[in-house]
Symmetry: C2
Amino acid sequence: MTTLDHRLGEVATAVGATLDGLLPRARGPEGRVVEAMRYAALGGGKRLRPFLVCAGAGLFDLPLAAALPTAAAVEMLHCYSLVHDDLPAMDDDALRRGRPTCHVAFDEATAILAGDALLTLAFETLSAPATHPDPAVRSALVHGLAVAGGCDGMVAGQMLDLLAAEAGLDPDDITRLQALKTGALFTFSCEAGAILAGADDGDRGALVSFGRALGLAFQIADDLLDVEGSAAETGKAVGKDAGAGKATFLDLLGVEGARRRARSLADEACAALARFGDRGALLCATARFVVERRH
Amino acid sequence: MTTLDHRLGEVATAVGATLDGLLPRARGPEGRVVEAMRYAALGGGKRLRPFLVCAGAGLFDLPLAAALPTAAAVEMLHCYSLVHDDLPAMDDDALRRGRPTCHVAFDEATAILAGDALLTLAFETLSAPATHPDPAVRSALVHGLAVAGGCDGMVAGQMLDLLAAEAGLDPDDITRLQALKTGALFTFSCEAGAILAGADDGDRGALVSFGRALGLAFQIADDLLDVEGSAAETGKAVGKDAGAGKATFLDLLGVEGARRRARSLADEACAALARFGDRGALLCATARFVVERRH
């Protein structure tokens, strides 16, 4: 087992425990929505975005515990986006992380509300004093996550994705789609470590560049898995995106071209970390892992 | 025209202009979601919650301009909740503020995303330096709005409301439903003025008590309008809540009992403002208006 595998597992366990502590317990009939939130957020997943928060903070010698609430908030936002994207009116997916999607396990109304509540809890978490003692840091984290998640970020990406299935988009639109839908949250996840640590603009900018290249590399790798992987490996239906006429980088670059592009983006991501010297090794290994992963 | 009418109109206009400035302009194909956000947020409405923010801040001599971004953020959250509550999977409403609901005017996926983006923009707005120079105040505003809007607040209220339509709830559940669904945001709206002004705990607590009584009074008045009003007056279908088997205070108290309860809650709200002397007159008049309004 490599250092990265070990560290990924360690952080995933810690993030799961943090989420479990931050999510309320179901009480009363309205507890149904809390059950759905817990189902969506505690159902496994690689916890890659929270890992980036923790690894970014680690660059500045912050202990894992100091990054965990922020890491959990980023994962809440990610999980909300999965719950809403899976809805019948959106991508209409029945399987996620190897289990029925939230609206299948509960119902559509409950899934909409659970997503809303996870999104809201992300901001409640970031603004809580336990996340960071300095309110200026908390406020910067809230602002950064909101910009990444909103109508100039992930929501815009999902809107483009839905339109792509209907009407087709040109290559510029597809690149923008992926930068918004996946890249914005990857970038914020990396930047969050620098915000938590009060890093200077140069270090913060380096993490932003790293996150941007990594996000694009991740999305291309995801598209490759969609055509090459098996449902057992990816935990979701295979070939679904291509089947739905969704615009992916494979349409633009072909399988081999896409693989080359993903590797070159991983190189680019690692190059952005040059200023951190050896301390950047863990994040650089993460970029290689993201491109080569089989699930 | 009374002082209150004049002031309500003045604030509604200023809040509309602030929302117009804070909402992005639609660009590119993804601009569809921005159009839907603007449709949902700029479509009129009484702007009662933003008015409470501004009137609460006014108690401490804050100028209107200092309260407007916070007031607009509260309205964004309110508008998101209307868009999602109106969805086919939820209350399935076709008419809102006298116009087609967001999912009818656009489509279901766009409406879900527009709601998500309005909720996110509320937190982006509250955490922006333009909202208040002190990051501790911004962080407190984010936290307060998140608690009011989330799974211990509005989302829990909507969950209970959906369950009420199916299964029926006992009187305690109905009281909790209304406190969560309507009361939480009314209470935060009133408290926000005190947070913006850096008011002491006593003043802040008084505004919380006022907001709590006002929220309940508002909901009872709304239930009365639902059975007594006309669609032209309320801008939505009449008798719909009763027809859907929704649990309201009218089931518990009858029409006359409900009217008496609403008036006594308005008295209670005004009594909570005693410590402010004459300066509380505008908010007290608001409580009377809320109970007696015909639309």
